[in-house]
């Protein structure tokens, strides 16, 4: 069985990375959004919001296998 994390990037983060969505293997050792972010090598996490399964959460919240993890650059709507 493939146990994965789905990772989503939006707007400027997506352009910087060159991809919008990726499935990463879920490794129990890399178990927070911050740790996944550091693996992605996309610069500092500062100012970036994290959503897990479509809920805004702190970057240090533990992840579960199968989670959808989204990294969101600063919001500029309205």
């Amino acid at each position: 069985m493939d146990v994965v994390l789905k990772v989503l990037l939006f707007a400027s983060l997506r352009e910087r990375a060159g991809w919008a969505e990726r499935s990463l293997p879920f490794t129990p050792g890399v178990s927070t959004a911050r740790e996944v972010w550091n693996q992605l090598d996309l610069g500092p996490l500062e100012g970036i919001s994290v959503a897990v399964n479509q809920e805004l959460v702190g970057a240090n919240q533990p992840l579960q296998a199968g989670d959808e993890l989204a990294f969101l650059p600063p919001f500029t709507g309205g």
């Binding site: 959503a51 805004l56 500029t76």
Partner: protein, 142 residues
């Protein structure tokens, strides 16, 4: 008191037509409409403004903030419309309308909701100018 209607719109909307359909006759209604500026943040002519959102999370975030503020200000019905996609200068981006029994409640709730929308809802703007797109890094000041 009553509902919060929140919509993310992929197509242009006519604010006055939407407000007429929304209806309501409470003693006070405070409405804000934001439109695309004709220039980029660094002063060049704007070709188009592109708006992206995180579907699902975005609508739920806005509904939650509208309901919280509605309670806090004892406001009545709330309507929020927000465009996504490619917008031309002058086109409406956002409409926030709040009804209440008191003018102060309607005005304060409408202003607070607009600020929360700008800072706490997952929308992103990209300015297009001479065929090149630039993501904005922050909102305009109040």
């Amino acid at each position: 008191m009553t509902g919060c209607r929140v919509e993310v719109c992929p197509d242009p909307f006519d604010p006055w037509q939407q407000l007429a359909l929304w209806g309501g006759d409470e003693a006070a209604a405070a409405i804000f409409i934001g439109r695309v500026r004709p220039t980029t943040t660094d002063g060049r002519p704007l070709e188009a403004l592109e708006l992206e959102h995180f579907p699902g999370l975005c609508e739920r975030q806005i509904t939650a903030m509208a309901q919280r503020l509605q309670q806090e200000h004892r406001a009545g019905p709330i309507l929020v419309l927000h465009r996504v996609g490619r917008l031309a200068p002058g086109e409406p981006i956002v409409l926030v309308a709040v009804q209440a029994d008191r003018r102060g409640a309607a005005q304060r709730c409408s202003a607070a909701l607009l600020e929360q929308l700008k800072h706490q809802a997952p929308f992103w703007k990209r300015e297009w100018c001479a065929g090149q797109g630039t993501w904005l890094v922050a909102n305009t000041p109040l």
